[in-house]
Amino acid sequence: MTEDMGKFKCKSCSKEMENEIFVLNMWVCPYCNYHHSINAGDRLRITVDENSFVEIGKNIDSIDFLNFYDTRAYSTRLKEAKLKTGMDEAIMVGEAKIEGIDVAIGIMNFGFMGGSMGSVVGEKIKILSDCSIEKKIPLVVFCASGGARMQEGAISLMQMAKTVSCINRVKENRIPYISVITNPTSGGVSASFATLADIIIAEPNSLFCFAGPRVIKQTIKKNPPSDFGSAERNLINGQIDMIVNRSDLKKILTSILELFR
C-alpha cells in the first residue's frame, strides 16, 4: 500500500485513485473490489455504532519473558509495533453495539507484528469470551493473523488451546459466535478460535489457511494455485458460510445477530 500525494495505488489492479475515494470506499478498490487491509480503529468505525465501543482488557501488556532475540529484541519489536500502529497489541476487544444490538467484539490488527497471537491475544480472547458469557451477548471476532508469535515460544502455541477452551465455554453457554475472516488469517489463529465459530464470514480475496502459500511452496517445490487458501476456494471447500463485501458486512452481521436475539 503506497500513500503519497493523496493518491493510492491498488496493489491488485495497479489503478490509482484519490486517497479520499479509497477511504470512502472502505479501503476497497472501486475498480477491482480488492479488499485491502484495514487497521483495527478503522474496522471498528465502519462496524459498530458510533461511540458505542467500550474497550476492555486495556491494561494487559506483552512482556519479553524469554528475552527473545533474533536480529532484534522482542521488546524492541513490541515498542516499534506500538509506535507504528498506535495500538497496544494485535487485538483490541470490548463491548459495542451493532445497529443497537449489544455484542462482545474483538478486532485483530495485522499491522501489529503480523497479527501474531501471543499471551496477550490469548488473554484478551479470554476476557472477551468471559464478557460475552457473563453478559449473554453474542461474540464477534474479526480475524487477521499470520499465526503464533514465535517470540513467545511454546507459550504462543498454548494460546491455541487457551482460546479454544474459551470458545468451548462460549458454545456451552449457547452464546452465538460469529467470526469474520479478513486478509490474511492463517496459522495458529485459523487453527483455533477463528474456525470454531457458529457462523464464519469471509471478506473477498481473504487468505484463510493453516499453512500459508510460502510453506506449501517449499513442500511441493512449485507455486500453489493462485486461489490457494482464498475465501472463494474455502467457500467451495465448505470451510466458510459466506463471502461478504466489506460494504455489506454491517448489514449482514445485523441480520445474523437479529436471528439470535
Binding site: 501488556d61 488451546a161 477452551s165 474459551c166 474456525t195 499453512a211 511441493i220
Partner: protein, 325 residues
C-alpha cells in the same frame, strides 16, 4: 583489544553485528577530538557482548544436540510404546468421513488391566514407511480419526493416552482444501471436552499445531530429549533471521527443550532418558514411560469427569505471561 580471533566462537549471524560495531569504534577513534563515548568502556561492553554471544552460541549447540536426538530415527516411536506397554491393542482406522491417515495410529488397548484409548503420531521406521506416513505429518483425515476415537473413549470412560511425535501438520494443498485449520481446532476442542483423563507424552518432535492437536492433556510429559515448539527452528530462522544460518540460534531462542518447557509451565513432567538418549536403550525407555503412564492414571483414577474436564480447561486457560498494569 578486540581482535578477530576472539570472534571464532561467535555465531555467524552475530559476527556481522560485532564487526559493524568494531569498525564504527575504529572510525570514531580516528576523529581527533571525539569524546562522545569512553572508548575503554565501549570496548569492554563489546567484549561482554562477544562473550555473551559465545555463550548463546554454545547454548545453541547444546540445544541443537537435543534437536538431533529428538529427530533420531532410532528413537522408540509410538508403535514401540504401544507394543511394549499395551496388551490386546486393537488398531482402529478411518475418520468415517472420507479418509484414513496412517500417520496417526489410534486404537484401544489395556494397561494394568484397564482399557485405554491410545493415539499417536507414526513417523515410520524406514524410508518406505516414512514416505507412506508423510514423516509423521498428519492430514485432516488423521486428526478426525483421532477425534472419533477420543469421542469413543469418552463415551465408554476410557482414559486417553497420546504419543506426540511430528514435525508438524502436513503442509499440502489437499490437506488445506480438506480443512486442516478446522481439523486441528476441532481436535484441540475435543481434547478439552472429554470427561476422561488425558495423558499426553512428547516422545520425539513436537511440532506446532500438529503436535498440540494430540497434546491437550491433563498431564503433559516430555521425554528428556524431546522437543516441543511453536515452529521448527528452520522455519523460525527463515522468517526472523531470514537466513538458514540462524537455525541453531532460533532453536535456542524458542526454548523448545523439556527443561525449558518445564520451567515455563507448559509441561508437567520431564521423563528421564537412558544415558545418551532413548535410542541407546529403547526397551528401557518404553518401561520408564510405562511407569509414568501407570502413575498418571492412578493419579486421576477417582476424579470425576466434570473435574477432569474443568481442570484441563483451567490449566490451558491460565497459560501465558503478560503484565497487568
Amino acid at each position: 583489544m578486540v581482535n578477530l580471533k576472539k570472534l571464532q566462537d561467535v555465531p555467524k549471524t552475530y559476527v556481522k553485528e560485532v564487526l559493524g560495531e568494531l569498525s564504527r569504534l575504529e572510525k570514531l577513534k580516528k576523529i581527533p577530538f571525539f569524546t562522545g563515548i569512553h572508548f575503554k568502556d565501549a570496548e569492554r561492553e563489546l567484549i561482554r557482548k562477544i562473550e555473551n554471544y559465545k555463550k548463546i552460541g554454545k547454548d545453541a549447540e547444546r540445544v541443537w544436540k537435543i534437536i538431533e536426538l529428538s529427530r533420531n530415527e532410532k528413537r522408540p516411536q509410538c508403535r514401540d510404546y504401544i507394543n511394549g506397554i499395551f496388551k490386546n491393542f486393537v488398531n482402529l482406522s478411518g475418520d468415517r468421513l472420507g479418509g484414513e491417515d496412517r500417520s496417526i495410529i489410534a486404537g484401544l488397548g489395556k494397561i494394568d488391566g484397564k482399557t485405554v484409548a491410545v493415539i499417536g503420531h507414526n513417523k515410520g521406521k524406514d524410508i518406505k514407511e516414512r514416505m507412506e506416513y508423510n514423516f509423521g505429518m498428519s492430514t485432516p483425515y488423521g486428526y478426525r480419526k483421532s477425534q472419533r476415537i477420543m469421542e469413543l473413549a469418552n463415551r465408554f470412560g476410557f482414559p486417553i493416552i497420546t504419543f506426540v511425535d511430528t514435525p508438524g501438520a502436513y503442509p499440502a494443498i489437499e490437506a488445506e482444501d480438506n480443512g486442516q485449520a478446522a481439523a486441528i481446532a476441532k481436535s484441540i476442542s475435543v481434547m478439552l471436552e472429554v470427561k476422561v483423563p488425558v495423558i499426553s507424552i512428547l516422545i520425539g518432535e513436537g511440532g506446532s499445531g500438529g503436535a498440540l492437536a494430540l497434546a491437550v492433556g491433563n498431564e503433559v510429559y516430555m521425554l528428556e530429549n524431546s522437543t516441543y515448539s511453536v515452529i521448527s527452528p528452520e522455519g523460525c530462522a527463515a522468517i526472523l533471521w531470514k537466513d538458514p544460518a540462524g537455525t541453531k540460534l532460533a532453536a535456542r531462542e524458542l526454548r523448545l527443550t523439556s527443561r525449558d518447557l518445564m520451567k515455563l509451565g507448559v509441561i508437567d513432567k520431564v521423563i528421564p532418558e537412558p544415558l545418551g538418549g532413548a535410542q541407546n536403550a529403547p526397551e528401557r525407555m518404553v518401561k520408564i514411560v510405562r511407569k509414568y503412564i501407570i502413575d498418571a492414571l492412578q493419579k486421576y483414577e477417582d476424579i470425576s469427569g466434570e473435574e477432569l474436564k474443568s481442570a484441563r480447561a483451567c490449566k490451558f486457560e491460565s497459560m501465558g505471561f503478560f503484565s497487568k498494569g
